[in-house]
Amino acid sequence: MTTISQVAPQDSALPKVRVDMLPLLLVPVLALLMLPLVGSFPTWVTLTVAGLAMGMMVFMMASGLTLIFGLMDVLNFGHGAFVSVGAFTATLVLLPMKSWVEADSVWMNLSVVGLAILLAMLVTGLLGWAFERIIIRPVYGLHLKQILITMGGMIVAEQLIHVIWGAEQIPLQLPTTFRGAFIFGDAALEKYRLIAVGVGLTVFITMFLVLNRTKVGLLIRAGVENGEMVEALGYRIRRLFVGVFMAGSALAGLGGVMWGLYKETLTAAIGGEITVLVFIVIIIGGLGSVGGCFIGAMLVALVANYAGFLAPKVALVSDILLMVTVLLWRPQGLYPVAKR
């Protein structure tokens, strides 16, 4: 190990590192552009916070799906089922512990919701494990069958929710201290929306740190790009698959609880309804990209809120219009994932 011979000293110039900032700017630019259109600053603040809150909840539901797709090339059309199951599981805690929900105490409210979220994530995580094993594993690499099978899984799950919880819609009460709004000047900020933004940011930052700072996270990112090579380096990608699938399902469950509390009523169709939105978000973001998914979720939700205020009829199709616009600009989504 003494002879030191440098290979190729001549190619020292490195192409400039391109950090693709443009999509990052979209959210603030959009928000600022809308300010003069909305006209009133307090209304604008309220709309923006509402949009961010909705975006955060959609992000929770969509991030797992996009990661699962990126890593395993599996698009789970039944992802919405986890959202429903998560929300309905929460009722197992929230309904019997009604007194804690109704109590005028932040700690009791927080702990009961925290418990509901924990249970929901546990159940959806385990369900994700079973779903991956029973439904998805036999159809790896077969897209057509995947779509059909996961769609079928979704139908069955939705019906099973009917069987277990009945066909009636369930009212879900928002805990007492989460109700109402903070007033800043003329702008009213609903407390629950701020909570949703907080939870969403926590999820995003945690995901970001895990994917960038831990070995497992790096392996997931490596696996998204080249799963075979990850195996050749000596790691069992199947374990990663299962782990990511469970985590993604649990996140959908979390999103379901948050969304259910936001809507304050539950129907078994809640997951199916949100699926479309989630798909639009991950298409906009670029299939497989977590960062793109985050920006996509914010964009979709903000546009929906601004459009709902400025032109309610347009709001009905605003997400489709947004998707078309983004795809015309970048056909593979905001952050195309380099692979395949």
Partner: protein, 244 residues
Amino acid sequence: MSEALLQLDGVHTHIGQYHILQGVDLVVPRGGITVLLGRNGAGKTTTLRTIMGLWHASRGTVRFDDGDITQSPTPDIACAGIAYVPETMGIFSDLTVRENLYLAARNVKKAGEMDEARLEWIFGFFGALKKFWNQPAGTLSGGQKQMVAIARAIVEPRKLLLIDEPTKGLAPAIIQGMIAAFRELKQTETILLVEQNFSFVCALGDSVAVMDGGRIVHSGSMAALADDRDLQHRLLGLSLDTHQ
């Protein structure tokens, strides 16, 4: 412990409906560089992938270090001590050079804990890696990516390196550097090298096997093949003169 580190006996591999390997018998002795030559489509890459378990042999056995790995899953084969550098290099372009190497170092739990001395040894012949240590690997040039791919294979001691066409698409000056690096490497490592560049392997190879039509049609010492123009002609349809 037998002489051979790796031994393939009558290995057949099918990919879909295609019968690619049709009875490969190959022995890789411990130490030095064994070169696998042959024209395009002869089955060289398939041989490496079969050893690595990325495709499984339908018949025959693959023995490595006195264990049967014929049907082992890829991660187990990797953990048994075989490192693989595919023709496509398979680097993770989204990750930095450091993170690429960190993932390859299976026994290291934190990125900061990689063996410094060994890294310095690698930087000794792949200096560019040190320079671009924290750059995303996707931004590197082709030659630098190849360095990342090989460095990944040697970041921890392995018993056998499978390297598929490391000089493919590289400029001649860079290839000269690679030759030097491989000379250094073969002091300590056992390498099974697939290559088309005859002058490259002449400078490096210890023993050689030539493939054609999914079989090994010749094996012997590299020096003997390098000296025998007729044999080169017969086996490879080329000679050193025409190739250079």
